[in-house]
Symmetry: C2
Subunit: 433 residues, 2 copies
Amino acid sequence: MNEIRTVEAGKHLGEMVHLRGWLHNVRRLGGVNFVVLRDGWGTIQAVTENDADLAPLAGCALGSVIGLAGLVVANSQAPDGLELQQPAITVITPIDTPPPLPLQKRQLNAALPTLLDHAVVANRHPARRAVFRLAAGAMAGFRATLNARHFTEVQTPKIVASATESGANVFKLDYFGRPAFLAQSPQFYKQIMVGVFERVYEVGPVFRAEPHDTVRHVNEYVSLDVEFGFIDNHFTVMALLREVVAGIFAHLEETCAAELALLEAALPAVPPTIPHIHFAEAQELILQRHSIDVRGEPDLSPQDERWLGEWAQAEHGSDFLFVTGYPMVKRPFYTHPDPARPAYSNSFDLLFRGTELVTGGQRLHRYGDYLAALDRAGYPHEPFETYLEAFRYGMPPHGGFAIGLERLLMQLLGLPNLRLATLFPRDLTRVTP
Amino acid sequence: MNEIRTVEAGKHLGEMVHLRGWLHNVRRLGGVNFVVLRDGWGTIQAVTENDADLAPLAGCALGSVIGLAGLVVANSQAPDGLELQQPAITVITPIDTPPPLPLQKRQLNAALPTLLDHAVVANRHPARRAVFRLAAGAMAGFRATLNARHFTEVQTPKIVASATESGANVFKLDYFGRPAFLAQSPQFYKQIMVGVFERVYEVGPVFRAEPHDTVRHVNEYVSLDVEFGFIDNHFTVMALLREVVAGIFAHLEETCAAELALLEAALPAVPPTIPHIHFAEAQELILQRHSIDVRGEPDLSPQDERWLGEWAQAEHGSDFLFVTGYPMVKRPFYTHPDPARPAYSNSFDLLFRGTELVTGGQRLHRYGDYLAALDRAGYPHEPFETYLEAFRYGMPPHGGFAIGLERLLMQLLGLPNLRLATLFPRDLTRVTP
């Protein structure tokens, strides 16, 4: 007898098959028994009018691990158009306590704290785990797009010697009696690795000790980082980012159709060229369209971003918009200025449906520029010694970007809280489960 | 004119091409000037008898970033059988300080501390970076093998609430004024995720606060973790591990031939079935072959492993050997005992050329077994609450393994020190570069 996964049943119509998984649901309706098995990919329903077929389940709570053999039969009334008949059930791991959440319900209606407290079990719900299968698909699409363009994957250290990049918001560590820190991004190391491989990416955890309790912050998340050399300016980086975003969505479409359907999520079209607008023009546009004068502000507010997103949709029919040239004063010290307008930078944000999704730009690449930038920022040179060595011994013009995996999922799926896009979120009050 | 990478030059014989990279070497030999450019993938040599062609390099130290145009010509005397003629050089980023290590030499002969102190630059040497391109290839081969078998990639949290798995050797963290710890492995989370996806893997950093200063220890490394459900016992896990190891090497052969040749590394053959020997039989074998009685010892020594590796080679012609059934007393509390001989476990080590490369096994899966195992080990239940929830609500028989990426490279390449397989090693004395 064929051992199959639930999602393969359609290829075995008329055959006896065997499946293993979790007892997802048991119901009795008009003299017919329905037993639903959940495996790692989907669910399948078995039907029988013979109560004795269910005898092995005596004392088994939902969530028990079972084997289920049966004949695959097409039935337009059944979920996915098929069901198992003549079921033979065996019990692998009997469970006596039903799960703390109703996993068998189509919608997992539970308060957020309950979902998070019981994430170990809640993530078993088909709609919850679909989110994380999309996460896996997004990582795979990210890597595939970059591998095809001769990028090399790196894994850079997460324990670092100094809290260099932005100072305060880092976690401090006892490293054999000395202080060390958790990397808040692989920024410095990915730039260093451009000196080795030219084109690099990294998928890994980043750690932010930001004391913010919002729906858009967690303190550990997965960052999809890219950095590459021999660019003309930030527009080279934006062109690659467009390919990466399109590659991620193409991969999701190809590999995660069932998950997208379950979550009723529509993948956005990525225009061949994503429209772009300069920061200063964006502020002018807001004045014209909304009679609010934000000129002179050094950054865009969430409301500004929403307005720009609406404009991109109305003007260009695009879910995506690049805003370029953010003021240098709001960007990190390694940001490359716009040679023509040095108060503005060769940087960008990518807005997706009116919210920032990705930040990136061109970096400084000359050693002398770094020394000057550190001096301007009032930073001592010594903690940056490792980083500076890369520039001292030769670096090409380069740039890159970082995509927050959870934010991508949150915005793609319209989730109300970033924690719902995170397997086991870490926030101000939560280090478990 | 075509912009190409060095490694693509062979496809452009007779064409004018343009390359960008680092000034790797300049030599003058018998009236002929040789300029070598290094890009992210290889090197290429340009030749000219006309000194004026080199004029742009005036004042440029090795390591300067340059553009190089020229005609690709076959020449059996040249490295890789081709060279650039009629070179036109442009300078992109001039450097005035030559690198602290002779990157242009075929062998980067430098003391280990120098290599590590200047890893930012040393990793640019073709032989050094080849190691890390193999690392990328190994990760890609690992993922490809598992994706083809319906595994789902997960990213589990690295900040954890309690130092549960083995107690002392964890890094302690200040998490918003409360103590937290760095995960020393994704063991608990990958098992939890078997409850969600059945088959999971993770590639990510692990943190070990072991105060060991040896050639085989670093304190942060990359772990290739696998866990999956519905196994028969540890032999199911070993069969998958064989596929994964073979898949990694096949991928390296396919994608990293140049790097393997540069490092003069031969990929081992992975037998269709890797030979295996039970721990107790292994001790008997050592007594017979070497007249040393290690029976009763709870573990194998490095010498024991070398002897067993020699035996596997002599008896089975295999670089690989599974040792199964390690005594329960030396394995973690979640290890599944051998039902027939409960003092031994359903676990294994995979020896590669006489050294342990991978550890794995079957885990307990019944909730009651976990409660009993914790009690036997004298552990309180409360810090394991998250972990226990997975078993309380239903887990199948499952198991897995973890491959240390750096150890795999060290043993494959015969490196004398694990630090040489690590981009930026973290050890007792080193948190920079």
